[in-house]
């Protein structure tokens, strides 16, 4: 994008077009002929990865918007119907929701790379500031996207974040009302968030164009941090950078696919599988993992306004970096002190992220304050002083020299660095799952489930028995609002035939109407009907259950989790553990005991050791020999619990088998593709050395 193009089209038609709109020339000079420093390492492929992720998010987002309904009464169910009914809807949603996390992982690496190699220094200040703007836009977009499914975390996250603005003196309250479009977070809020969530990615794309433009005017920085001097320092963008970025993207896709196909809900908060309820706040409001460091900074300042200012400053300070660090040497490779402080800073950020997921109490508050100080000290004290007192090592004369020097000693500390990053990332991401530590109680034992792991499938027998238990026991109080009778005959389900499912449906009477005469009437259930609630309305359900509302069970297995502790969640990432919900359901059903002597059991409650607080309103629902099993399985609570938990896991995710099956195919494909890309890259680069 810099200067007149060297592109000379050969075809007369192309020449004609080029004279009038030099678009092809622009593309040619930006992405084909563009000179790239030849010593770029793989940290530089994250720019390409980010472009790829932006594309994925926009494409999947545009499609999800075709099926989503931005209304408080319909949003939650519309997201569930995307996952359950739309062809490949589960895939598109998981690509999008996990894509946001991937986007942030890539942007953090991209930013830290810029920080380490001094990519913000002259003449790249504007390039850097445009990057900070993109980052801010990403944060706004990610936050608003998280609100759209309208679960508990969506609602309360929106409430908490918009309330930040109430800290502004005098006008704060009015600004919050303005943001909400009401007196509380409600339908107008959801509508505008949807509109903006759709709009902002295109704004991001626009600023990305500026970012890339600025990059192509000043040229890329490189690990040596010296400017390009001669032709020998560079290689043309295509094929060299293209193939290298392509290989990087494919490797990143493997990482991405790991999440999408095997642990799609690992990064999300289970509370978001509970529909938004303005009357009940979840025990801990935790933002998505990528905001946790800033959340920790917010909470560590003991003043409302101060916390908000600190949090925003933590991002804004990045924009001033080019002037805070005045060192002449760019790359920290040649700055022994700066290099150490950089890694300390990375550790500070990770620890802040971990703290952000912890409850704000006791030692965590003190630690948060110290780390917040360290965070700002890095920018405001360490870098300005270092740049004056540090004597850097000699930098190479040119990029070509740097490349030659590197040829002697192979393989840097790449592998341990990546491992450390993965562990650190696990720490931050796991942090958000850890937030419920304060609730206490014994951890439910982990059972072996047939659907666990990458090759897991539902045990048909268990599903059918589980359905029986649900129908005879649970269904007397609980509904399953998202499950249809036709689902019983779906592939991946309990394996009913269509006729059996229809028979089950026609056993019940469904309220329908009004008919032509204006009357409501009862008719036999159809395949398209949902599992009905046993009560005509919520109040009747409460009245029949001692005031407690029996929750809908369709999503119970996804909406329940418990603390697995550190460092368990890192192993969970590698073992693809996602059986928290079923373990919890199973444990809960077996956890009824007589209350210990010193335990004050509230009126009308029962003691259950696995229920948070140990006092549950639901009486022990099932005991031995209550449901008849025809297949010889022992009629014990233990088996009932396990079967019904299996059944609920299926109702929470009917496409689990399809997900794992497609995942395996995608993984095999990507690994083959990655190998091919790697060897192609080697061949292409062979003649550049």
């Amino acid at each position: 994008m810099s200067g007149p193009s060297s592109y000379q089209p050969s075809h007369p038609a192309l020449q004609w077009f080029e004279k009038r709109l030099p678009l092809i020339g622009l593309i040619h000079s930006s992405f084909i002929a563009y000179p790239t420093p030849r010593n770029l390492n793989y940290w530089w492929t994250f720019g390409g990865i980010l472009s790829f992720m932006l594309g994925v998010q926009i494409v999947t987002g545009v499609i999800l918007a075709m099926h989503y309904t931005p209304h408080v009464d319909l949003a939650f169910n519309s997201v569930e119907s995307i996952v359950r009914d739309v062809n490949y809807g589960w895939l598109l949603r998981y690509l999008h929701s996990n894509g946001a996390s991937m986007f942030f992982i890539a942007v953090y690496i991209h930013m830290l790379r810029g920080l380490y190699y001094g990519s913000y220094k002259a003449p790249r200040e504007v390039l850097w500031i445009l990057g900070v703007i993109i980052y801010l836009l990403m944060m706004a977009t990610g936050f608003m996207g998280y609100v759209l499914p309208w679960g508990q975390m969506s609602f309360w996250g929106a409430t908490v974040i918009t309330n930040l603005f109430s800290a502004i003196p005098y006008v704060g309250e009015s600004i919050v009302t303005l943001l909400w479009g009401g007196y509380a977070v409600g339908n107008p809020t959801l509508n505008r968030f949807f509109s903006l969530h759709y709009l902002l990615p295109f704004v991001i794309a626009g600023v990305v164009v500026l970012h890339v433009w600025a990059l192509h005017v000043v040229g890329q920085n490189n690990p040596a941090g010296v400017e390009v001097k001669t032709e020998k320092d560079v290689v043309p963008f295509t094929p060299y950078a293209t193939i290298k970025d392509g290989f990087g993207i494919v490797c990143f896709m493997i990482f991405y696919a790991w999440f999408v196909f095997y642990i799609p809900n690992y990064l999300g908060d289970p509370d978001n599988y509970i529909p938004a309820n303005p009357g009940v706040t979840p025990a801990h409001i935790v933002p998505e993992w990528y905001y946790l460091p800033f959340y920790a900074i917010l909470r560590s300042i003991p003043s409302k306004l101060g916390g908000v200012i600190a949090m925003f400053s933590a991002i804004i300070v990045l924009a001033f970096l080019p002037w805070l660090d005045s060192a002449k040497t760019r790359s920290s490779k040649y700055r022994p002190l700066a290099k150490q402080f950089f890694w300390i800073f990375v550790v500070v950020c990770v620890l802040l992220g971990w703290l952000g997921g912890k409850p704000a109490e006791g030692i965590y508050i003190t630690a948060g304050r110290i780390l917040t100080f360290c965070y700002f000290a890095y920018f405001l004290i360490v870098l300005p002083i270092l740049s004056r007192i540090e004597t850097p090592r000699a930098v190479p004369n040119s990029i070509a020299d740097d490349v030659l020097a590197k040829y002697g000693k192979k393989a840097g500390p790449m592998a341990p660095v990546i491992l450390a990053l993965v562990l650190a990332g696990g720490l931050v991401m796991g942090g958000s799952q850890n937030a419920k530590a304060a609730e206490g109680g014994p951890t439910p034992p982990s059972l072996s489930w047939s659907f666990a792991g990458p090759f897991g499938k539902f045990d048909r027998g268990a599903l059918q028995r589980g359905y029986k238990v649900y129908k005879e026991v649970c269904a007397t109080c609980h509904s399953m609002n998202l499950v249809h009778f036709r689902n019983l005959a779906d592939p991946g389900g309990p394996g009913f035939s269509a006729a059996q499912a229809l028979a089950v449906a026609s056993d019940i009477q469904v309220k329908d109407g009004p008919n032509d005469a204006g009357d409501m009437f009862d008719r036999p259930g159809r395949l398209a009907d949902k599992f009905p609630a046993p009560f005509p309305n919520e109040n009747a359900a409460r009245a029949a259950n001692g005031g407690a509302y029996p929750p809908d069970l369709s999503l119970l297995a996804k909406a329940r989790n418990y603390d697995r502790g550190f460092p368990q969640f890192i192993f969970d990432f590698f073992t693809q553990f996602q059986e928290k919900g079923p373990n919890y359901i199973d444990a809960l059903l077996q956890g009824y005991e007589d209350a210990p002597k010193d335990f004050q059991l509230p009126q009308g409650a029962y003691y259950n050791k696995y229920f948070p607080g140990h006092a549950i309103k639901m009486p022990k629902p099932i005991s031995d020999d209550q449901v008849t099993y025809d297949d010889g399985t022992p009629q014990k609570v233990e088996n009932y619990a396990k079967d019904v938990a299996t059944f609920m896991m299926w109702t929470a995710e009917p496409h689990l088998e399809a997900r794992k099956k497609l995942g395996l195919q995608v993984m095999i494909f990507l690994i083959i593709f990655a190998f091919l890309m790697y060897f192609t890259k080697k061949k292409v680069w062979a003649d550049a050395h």
């Binding site: 494409v59 499609i63 075709m66 099926h67 119907s81 359950r84 009914d85 739309v86 062809n87 490949y88 809807g89 895939l91 598109l92 249809h484 036709r486 779906d490 159809r526 395949l527 398209a528 494909f669 083959i672 593709f673 091919l676 890309m677 060897f679 192609t680 061949k683 003649d687």
Partner: protein, 175 residues
């Protein structure tokens, strides 16, 4: 640059072609779910299951409109005269030749069941109107007879018959 033998050339070309081919297969496969999501979803398909309609309340000379899969279905209880009119026309003179017998179920000649969507551009014709006492489409003036066959106007073919069957003498199942 070193001199490369032709054997190396073919090996390299093979690698390039293989990588490109795998990339192309991957791109094509990735597009599949992006397109497939546009098709009717599972709940729409389930809601399109057959429906039953009770014919008892429809008097002779009357017709009703029911919806199936989002389409209006006209059910007319035809009079003797309407049936005779429909059968008196020489089939060869019709733009879309079809006998009346072929458009109703045998033994149930009085019942005409058609999809009420004009075969011109999709408007809904009005029953009991037009020169043939059949259907008249107000959009561009197509006129259908009492058998739902096109007689005048721009529509190219007769009103289509939905799949249906008589469950009993007074009940049909559409779909």
């Amino acid at each position: 640059m070193t001199t490369t033998s032709s054997a190396q050339h073919t090996r390299r070309d093979f690698l390039y072609v293989a990588t490109g081919a795998v990339a192309a297969v991957g791109a094509a496969a990735a597009v599949w779910p992006l397109i497939s999501q546009m098709n009717p979803d599972a709940s729409t398909i389930a809601a399109g299951a057959p429906i039953e309609v009770d014919l008892t309340p429809i008097a002779e000379g009357q017709d009703i409109k029911v919806f199936w899969r989002g389409k209006p279905i006209f059910i007319s209880h035809r009079t003797k005269k309407q049936i005779e009119d429909a059968r008196a026309v020489p089939v060869s003179s019709l733009p879309d030749p079809q006998t009346d017998q072929a458009r109703v179920k045998e033994g149930h000649d009085q019942w005409l069941v058609v999809i009420g969507i004009c075969t011109h551009l999709g408007c809904i014709p009005i029953a009991h109107e037009g020169a043939y006492d059949g259907f008249f489409c107000p959009c561009h003036g197509s006129v259908y007879d009492t058998s739902g066959r096109i007689r005048q106007g721009p529509a190219p073919s007769n009103l289509p018959i939905p799949p249906y069957a008589f469950v009993s003498d007074s009940k049909i199942k559409i779909g």
